[in-house]
């Protein structure tokens, strides 16, 4: 029982780490690039970020297809030639990577102000990586996604984030099997208590699992995931589940 729970938790943590490893290539490339320019006493311009595109496209066109968009989003003012900027690639149409064009014109109705988005503010304020969501991405893919983000730094300055939007319907393929090995009803919930994945039709992804502020709920065993980044918790019912339908 405890062995299976550990295996399930390890599996989920490995799945999250896997996405962060994917982002890491883009993040470290940007930080290296920044450091090289800083060493020359220069401030990078938007055009200097073009080499990141190949790395992003590699990630988007992998077989598993759960990364829908990836790249970097920069802190306003860090680039030499523009204020707000992102170098972000995403899948369009038949699954081809394309540049995401966002409107950073503040007087426009469609102004995309990422500075207040939690996947941007959290890494900036805490210095830690985060997983935000699941949520419906109204401005990008109209898909149900998780956003993974890691802060970017150079010589102690915050430069922005490197991130990835992950399609939860595809990513669930590696979250759910571990949960299905658990004997009781089990759900994976995020910090606000939204169900990310479950092993039971009694709790469906997207629903809310309400938990009192002290983080306990009678009848359930709550185990936080290791690593501060996701604030996800494994919630297991203490009642044995009715036998699952074997199909």
């Amino acid at each position: 029982m405890a062995e299976r729970r550990r295996a399930c938790l390890r599996g989920i943590e490995a799945a999250l780490d896997g996405v962060f490893d994917d982002i890491e290539r883009i993040a470290s490339e940007l930080e290296r690039l920044w450091e090289r320019q800083a060493a020359l006493g220069k401030v990078p311009a938007s055009g200097d970020l073009k080499p990141l595109r190949t790395l992003a496209d590699d990630l988007l066109t992998r077989d598993n297809r759960w990364v829908l968009g990836t790249g970097v989003v920069l802190e306003p003012g860090v680039l030499a030639d523009c204020d707000m900027f992102c170098e972000w690639r995403h899948l369009v149409g038949e699954g081809k990577p394309a540049q995401l064009d966002l409107n950073f014109n503040r007087s426009s109705d469609s102004y995309y102000n990422y500075r207040d988005m939690p996947w941007f503010t959290q890494p900036r304020e805490t210095g830690h990586r985060v997983v935000e969501g699941p949520y419906i991405d109204l401005y990008g893919q109209d898909a149900y996604i998780l956003t993974f983000a890691r802060p970017l730094h150079c010589r102690g300055d915050f430069l922005g984030i490197a991130g990835a939007d992950v399609h939860l319907g595809r990513f669930e393929r590696i979250l759910v099997p571990g949960l299905l090995q658990l004997a009781h009803d089990a759900l994976l919930v995020n910090a606000p208590g939204r169900v990310i994945a479950s092993n039971t039709p009694r709790w469906l992804p997207g629903e809310r699992f309400r938990m009192p502020d002290d983080g306990s709920r009678p009848g359930y065993l709550v185990t936080p995931l290791a690593g501060q980044h996701a604030h996800w918790q494994l919630v297991e019912s203490l009642d044995p589940a009715p036998a699952r339908n074997e199909g």
Binding site: D63, A143, Y144, I174, V176, P177, P201, R202, N245
Partner: protein, 254 residues
């Protein structure tokens, strides 16, 4: 004959790319799939069909050409000629499970959300708007479900009951949405699992909805219809989870 779910990566503001021909193809396939046109039945003339769909004859011909090509209809020449619906094999349970495998748990939950909204509202409106002669049509499909001899007949009687309610809501949009959802989900609901839906249970739930409609109890009819759809979706999700459990062994993707 159920259509694959469309790719999910368009933006909300992007228009649906489905052209008129594709729409006609989809509607025809749904209609045949759900038994609105039965095997061997002659389709109305091209002119009449084009009028029904509100499309040009060229568009309709294009759609019929495709349906002929994929073997859904056949065209016979001569005095008694015309287009006829071909007999199709009942899809094997294995093939249906493949379809279930293509959908994620999230998508199933989401389809359930949409289906509850559509069927729930249709039942509410039917309770307010249906006239006594319509109750007979609904009752007919509850009886037909009891008499159905195989999975396809059960599935059709089940779908037709819900389509009948939608039709009596007097909303063309709700009816189209109900047909689309029945076409996507209906057949999966009747897959033989460890606990396949009991005909009598479904009949009892249908009867409950019909009773509420007859008594003009709109809120109750809506609630019962929503609970009925939700039970079906939970059944599908249970099957999907069982499928994932059996398949997760040899399939290591990360």
């Amino acid at each position: 004959m159920m259509m694959k779910s469309p790719a999910n990566n368009g933006s909300f503001i992007r228009l649906r790319q489905e052209g008129r021909t594709e729409q006609v193809i989809r509607r025809m396939m749904e209609a045949i799939d759900l038994g609105l046109y039965v095997e061997g039945q002659q389709l109305p003339s091209e002119t009449e069909l084009a009028m029904q769909f509100g499309v040009a004859t060229v568009t309709l011909r294009e759609a019929l050409g495709y349906l002929r090509q994929v073997g859904v209809i056949e065209t016979r020449r001569g005095r008694n000629g015309g287009s006829f619906v071909c007999a199709t094999e009942e899809l094997s349970a294995e093939l249906m499970l493949e379809r279930l495998d293509e959908w994620s748990l999230i998508e199933l939950r989401d389809m359930g959300d949409e289906h509850r909204a559509i069927s729930g509202m249709a039942a509410r409106l039917a309770a307010e708007r249906a006239t006594p002669d319509s109750y007979r049509h609904m009752a007919f499909h509850i009886e037909a479900l009891g008499e159905a001899g195989n999975r396809r007949e059960r599935r059709r009687a089940d779908a037709r009951f819900h389509m009948e309610i939608a039709a009596h809501s007097q909303s063309v949009r709700l009816t189209h949405a109900e047909i689309r959802l029945q076409s996507q989900l209906g057949e999966l609901l009747w897959l033989p699992g460890k606990e396949p839906p009991e005909v009598v249970t479904i009949q009892r739930e249908h009867q409950g909805i019909l009773d509420a409609i007859q008594q003009g109890e709109a809120a109750l009819a809506g609630r019962l219809a929503e609970a009925h759809i939700q039970a079906g979706i939970r059944h599908l999700i249970t099957m999907k989870m069982a499928l994932m459990e059996t398949r997760s062994g040899g399939d290591d993707e990360h």
